[in-house]
Structures are given as structure tokens and as C-alpha cells.
Amino acid sequence: MLELRAITAGYDRRAPVFRSVDLTLAPGESVGLLGPSGCGKSTLARVAALLHRPDAGQLVIDGEVARGWRHRAPREQRTAFGVVFQQPRLSADPRLALRDLVAEPLRAVGRSSEVADLVPELAARVGLGKDLMGRRPHEVSDGQLQRACLARALVLRPRWLVCDEMTAMLDASTTAALVHVVEEYRRESGAGMLAVGHDRVLLERWCDRTVRWEELVAG
């Protein structure tokens, strides 16, 4: 259960982007959040994934109230979320080869010994060949890089996935492939998902239910 209670957040305390927003995700549920660009839906997703501290409100993750955000959140809480961002170029460190990009979370939590097994398995799952995994971000396409970013989000087997406009930069076939990977992972792990986007058709077909941003802010 992921509960956002009366969240007020933004980048300036005097002028928050949104006030008092409530959203609840049942265990294993996938929710699509629809809204025009600039409305604050990405900020809400970042609050949910413990990446942006809200000005007010409460976040409850599987019954546990979040006490801190970013580095102030305990590691187990942070890694409970797998996050995929809109722009793969900006969300990949340009100096790391795709292989290291995917392995980075394992190394960060001290599970380096599993890199050799897990990384090739995930690479195969998102459809990246061995040669591509040795390349650096500037040597692959946006779609290939986003596949690697999805693999990175899944490598610690998160209980919640947060996809912030994951497919906005991608063509239809890559979009379909990535959505398939996400759904396959959710089926076997029972993870819940918050997908943010403005593509109504895609989110309505992908998610258990969709929420329009206007309903959240009005309610």
C-alpha cells in the first residue's frame, strides 16, 4: 500500500506547485496519472519515490511513515522504489558503460557478487545484447539507453515502480517492448506501479486504473 496524504510540494515554499493532494495505491496495483505538462505530476512522482521532500503532508509506504527524503531516507526504503525517468540521456551517468549503469545499484548496496549473474539476465530481459552493454550512453540510441535504465530500476527487485513519462521519448515498438518488460516483472513479483504520463490511450491500456490530475487537485 502506497499512500500519499495531503501532499503539498514545489520548489518554493511560498508558491508550491500543488497543495494537499491525496493518492492511494493498493498493493500490487498499477495507477496511471494523466496530466498536461508542467502541472506537477512528475513532482508528485518524485515525492512518492522519496526523491523530493514535500513541504507538507505524509507518505506511507507499506504501512511505514516516511521520515526523510533523498539521503535522509533509510536505504531499504529508497531501494523499495525503482524509478525510470523521462530522459534517458540525463538519467545515465555519461561515464558509465551500460553494464556498469545496470550494476551500479547492486554495487551501491554491497551486493557486487551478484553482478555477474543478474546483469546479463536483466540485459536479456530488456533486449540488450552483450556488445551494447559494453558501450557508453553516447554510443547508443535513446531507446537502447532507456532499456538499460529500466534494467537498472529493476535490478534490486523493487516493490514499487515509478515510471515518470518513461516512454515519452520512444517510438511505438520500443514503448511496447518496455511496457511488456514492466508487466512481466509485475506479474512475477507482485510489485505496484505509478506511471506518470500524458498519453491517455497508453496509460488506460497499461494500468489497472487511471487518475486525471484535475481530479486529484480538485478533490
Binding site: L51, R75, R78, V109
Partner: protein, 288 residues
């Protein structure tokens, strides 16, 4: 009729730039070779006094002439450059390390730590740094290390600012968000993602600082506060030549002066070319 040929402008400028880089590279290579190879090879005493041959103008035996106690000026210039270069490089490296550490700390901590540290940097910057440098060397006995300490302690400020700005910009990239979500600690984010991003900037700042540090060493020695007068450095050479210049003897001033200007401009020229490579938008003049 569609015979328009589009031409690139600025071709001439580019060729002069390439020429400047090549000349700079040759001079820097010659300087490094001279200070590393000549002293051990020739095994001459640059402090050998020959009062019978004092203040001789340039000749075949003494290409740069001799000074007021008959020491060979070419030899003293090479040894002086050796000392000045050592002081310049060590001071620049130390200053860059301090500046990088302070800038990174300020940016990584944020909040009141950042505010206090950066206000301190502002306060230090408001004092002319030659004055501050004089104050620091005056506390010690003359020698190489007080000069290094003085130059290093007065030159980390701009590096701290550059590094802080760079870290602040890198810190807000989504890949740092991704690292946090992937369980990376503060230290891991700093070492793995932020530090590699600022190292090119810091390295460039260090190279740009070498000529500046050499100038400071010369200035301090010229004022009589840096190195002891018997130790040849470019600053002490110019300083001790002042008397003979008034008597009309030009060579003891001219050659050490050229030894200060030409190598430092060459180093700055190379650093400028490097900066244009990593940051092509900022067309720049020499920054000393």
C-alpha cells in the same frame, strides 16, 4: 542560378590559434627539458663567483652575460626557472586540491555550511591576494616552502567557486536521483558521480594557475620577501639586477624578465587551448 557556396568564416583566426598552440607546446617542451636535463648534465655551479668577469655583456662564453659578481646569467636563469617552476607547480596543485575540497564540501553540504563557507571565500577574496601573500611569507624565514604556502593559501578561492558551481549543477541531474534511488550513499554519489565530473575543470584550473603562481613567486622575491638572494629564482634575479640596470647594464634584467614572461605565456596558451576543447562556447583570452 542556385550556385550559392556557403563559406565558413573565421578560418584565418583558427590558423593563428593552431600556430599559437604549436609554439606554446614547443616552448613548454623546451623549458621542461631545460630544467630537467641541463642541471644534472652540465654539473656546473650556478653560484660560482668570478669577480674578474663581473657585469660582462652577452658574449660567446656567456650568452646572457654575467651579473655583478661574475656569475653566468644563462646558468642562473635555467636554475632560477627550475626553482620558479617547482614553486609554481606545487603551489598550483596544493591550491587546486584545497579549492576543490572546499568547493565540493560547500556544494555537497548545502544550507548554512555552504553559506558560511562561501561568505568566508568572499571575505578572503576582498583582500588583495598579493597583500595577503606578503603577510603570510612575512611570518616565516625566507625559503622555498613559505613562498609555496603563501601562493597556495591565496589562490584556492576561485577554484572553490568554480568547483562549487559545477557540483551544484551536477547534483541536480536525474542520474544523481537514480543513484539515490539505487541505494547509493552520499559518499558513493560524491566519489562515483560528482568527482569525475569536476576533475577536468579542476585540472584546467590547476594548469591555468601555474603561470600565475610563477608570477607571484617572482613578485614576492622581487620585493625581497620570497627566496633568499643567493638562491637563483626568476624573481631574485630581476631583484638583484635593479642596481646594474640604473648603471645602464640591461642584460641582467632583460633575460630573467624574458624567462618569466615567455614560459608562463606558453603554459597559459596551452591551457587556453585545452579550455576551448572542453568548453568551446567560452572563447577566451589568456587568463592569468
Amino acid at each position: 542560378m542556385a550556385d550559392i557556396v556557403w563559406r565558413a568564416h573565421g578560418g584565418v583566426r583558427r590558423s593563428t590559434r593552431a600556430w599559437r598552440v604549436r609554439t606554446s607546446a614547443v616552448i613548454v617542451a623546451a623549458v621542461v627539458l631545460a630544467v630537467l636535463v641541463v642541471p644534472p648534465l652540465v654539473n656546473l655551479d650556478e653560484q660560482a663567483v668570478d669577480l674578474a668577469a663581473k657585469l660582462r655583456p652577452p658574449s660567446l662564453a656567456h650568452p646572457f652575460g654575467t651579473d655583478d659578481v661574475g656569475r653566468d646569467l644563462l646558468l642562473r636563469c635555467v636554475y632560477g626557472l627550475r626553482v620558479s617552476l617547482l614553486v609554481g607547480v606545487v603551489a598550483a596543485v596544493v591550491a587546486t586540491v584545497i579549492g576543490t575540497a572546499v568547493g565540493a564540501l560547500a556544494a555537497a553540504s548545502g544550507g548554512w555550511v555552504d553559506r558560511i563557507v562561501m561568505r568566508l571565500v568572499d571575505i578572503f577574496s576582498s583582500v588583495p591576494h598579493l597583500l595577503l601573500g606578503i603577510f603570510i611569507v612575512a611570518m616565516f624565514r625566507p625559503g622555498v616552502w613559505p613562498v609555496v604556502v603563501s601562493v597556495a593559501l591565496t589562490h584556492w578561492l576561485s577554484t572553490a567557486r568554480i568547483v562549487r558551481a559545477e557540483v551544484l549543477s551536477l547534483r541536480s541531474r536525474p542520474y544523481v536521483d537514480a543513484a539515490i534511488s539505487g541505494g547509493a550513499s552520499r559518499l558513493r554519489v560524491a566519489v562515483r558521480h560528482l568527482l569525475p565530473g569536476v576533475l577536468p575543470q579542476a585540472g584546467l584550473a590547476a594548469v591555468l594557475m601555474v603561470p600565475h603562481a610563477i608570477w607571484h613567486e617572482s613578485a614576492l622575491s622581487f620585493l625581497g620577501l620570497g627566496l633568499p638572494t643567493h638562491q637563483a629564482s626568476l624573481g631574485t634575479l630581476v631583484q638583484s639586477a635593479r642596481g646594474s640596470l640604473l648603471a645602464g647594464d640591461w642584460w641582467p634584467t632583460l633575460f630573467p624578465g624574458l624567462f618569466i614572461i615567455v614560459p608562463t605565456l606558453a603554459i597559459a596558451g596551452l591551457a587556453g587551448a585545452w579550455r576551448e576543447r572542453i568548453n568551446p562556447r567560452r572563447r577566451s583570452e589568456l587568463m592569468l
